[in-house]
Amino acid sequence: MKAQHSHLPFAILLMLAWRNIWRHRRRTLITLTSIAAGFALSVLMIGLGDGSHNSMIRNAIKLGEGHITVQPRGYLEAPANHKYLADGKVLQKKLDALNVAGSAESRITLQVLASTANNSVGAGLEGFDPEHDQRVAMLQPQLVDGEWLTTGDARGIVIGDGMASKLKAKIGSKVVLMAGKQGGDSQAQLARVRGIFDSKVDELDDYLILSDLALAQRFLEGEGADLAQVPLTRFAIFLDDPDSMAHWKAQVKSSLENDQVVVMDWEEMMPQLVQFVFVDDAGNYIFLVLILIMVVFGILNTVLMSVLERTREFGLLRALGLSRYQLLMLVFCESLLLSLLAVTIGWIAGGGTHWWFATHGIDMAALMGNGSTAMMGTFMDPVIYTELSSDRVVQLTGIIFIATLGSGIYPAIKASRVTPVEALRT
């Protein structure tokens, strides 16, 4: 029994579309290969970008003030030695009660003038726990001379090789550390060089002086702090799971934040790094768009050619009773299948490429020539491993799929506009 209107089951439509895309096997394979290659390149580029950015961020967080920082309100806008957390002991108890999944490091940051008999330079004095702080793992291996600090050492300092060079200091040298006080006076402490490090990051090597908390707290005492209350500049909180930052920030904020104390995350603490990552990412996406344009034109060419070659066949189908809409859907399904194949093959190629570089990495230090991977006050790991989050996977798949599918719209519309009588004359 016949229906009253043209009826094309989806299974038949798909079958026709599938067979049509394999009519010219070589052309289809070339198109799919070019898409897969473009996609693999995009995956590598994005993966490498994310890998290098995440490496910089991880190192910046480790070298810097953690995922979450608790510090005096107004300190970030205008750092000053007299701005400190006077009741570090109380805040520590509150932090301990939260059971943060990670560690909270006590730190003191001061602006000082470091002087030897030979020279004086402005420096940043960082007081911390030299046994347990996150920085230990990063900087202790960078020692090139001398020893690391010990807990409770109220005189010892470790300086960068750039600073040592400026001060003409060596192991055992005396260094006078002088700081201004809020009232206008100044105060000074005598320190002795225990070790010299070379981190390959100029901002650290030329500027940073490391000491135990004990030495740094003397300066806070000079600002009127009560040492029994464990005065600090900040708590630097390092999370075991960086993805839990929003959760823990909210927890710490509700427990500790008041009109004297502010809780910030690393993005708020290091906006320049955030901006650098954003701009670099944008550059990668511009490159991705260029690749996509080539991919889209590749598919458009293939599908359009196949439509133009089949004008007479479309005329025949229309004469037999296929509607314009059904013809449009047929050609669109061909693009759909081509897109699905392209994404699948693209992910096999791209996924394989990503797996290789995620496992073996790329030696960035060698590529950057001087062996240094420092930038923006932080550094990348010497060997970068590509990283792809699930969000990126969805994003890249969506972009390629939509681009390839979109390139099939014009050929589908063109096919649907075929008039039988003109087409059959060709």
Binding site: R19, N20, L316, P420
Partner: protein
């Protein structure tokens, strides 16, 4: 009763300021079951008339009724459905969808008609047997000869149960043997299935088998002969 009635059919093509009258005041009635040929020199309007009857083109003036449906008033989507349900087509060449087998090509129109898979398979196999192609039904057109492809087209046209089959120069690309074989099949099926056939042709072999010959010249019908009546009247 007349299956097809054409009244006052004109077709004018405009090429810039020039008007070309492809058809002029065509009046024609075709009865059910007729096996009729449109003949005439190139440019006489045979294909144009066939396209208009088939709803592939529209007349400038006039009326066409097929089985009491006025074709000229149908919208494009209605024409598409009309062709699907009422008409069968056999073209000079490129009749078949290259990616479908002979069997699938015959089934195609029945798929569009929404017939059940069992019914359409049965009918497709039946008509392929009738045209002598049951052994090659799973081959694609590229693996069939020209004559075989035309026979598949005939099977497809008839399997869909049309009221009228329109064939535009179906034997033009065939050698004598294949042309004769194809015409014999079509003539035989026309009688068995009681399906009306209208051909456009230059081919004398087609004319010899036609029961009615409608001659066109310069877009007008110049003669319309019922061949059997003519032969009886002129028999010695």
């Amino acid at each position: 009763m007349a299956l097809l009635t054409l009244k006052g059919i004109d077709k004018v093509y405009r090429q810039g300021e020039l008007e070309v009258h492809a058809l002029q005041s065509i009046d024609l009635t075709v009865e059910e079951g007729e096996f009729a040929a449109l003949v005439g020199p190139s440019g006489s309007g045979k294909t144009t008339l066939l396209n208009i009857i088939g709803g592939l083109d529209s007349p400038s003036h006039g009326s066409i009724q097929l089985n009491s449906t006025e074709i000229t008033t149908l919208k494009e989507s209605q024409l598409s459905d009309f062709r699907l349900l009422e008409l069968g087509f056999v073209f000079q060449a490129y009749n078949l969808v290259p990616v479908l087998s002979a069997l699938e090509n015959v089934e195609l129109v029945m798929v569009l008609q929404g017939r059940h898979v069992g019914e359409r398979r049965e009918r497709a196999v039946h008509y392929l047997k009738l045209v002598g192609l049951e052994k090659v039904m799973h081959r694609r057109p590229s693996a069939l000869s020209g004559g075989q492809q035309q026979r598949v087209a005939v099977a497809r046209a008839l399997a869909a149960e049309p009221r009228l089959v329109l064939a535009d120069e179906p034997t033009a690309n065939l050698d004598s043997e294949n042309a004769t074989a194809l015409l014999d099949i079509m003539h035989k099926l026309s009688h068995e299935e009681k399906t009306t056939f209208i051909f456009s042709t230059h081919d004398v072999r087609v004319m010899e088998r036609a029961e009615r010959i409608i001659t066109l010249r310069d877009g007008a019908i110049v003669s319309d002969e019922n061949v059997e009546r003519h032969q009886r009247e002129h028999a010695v």
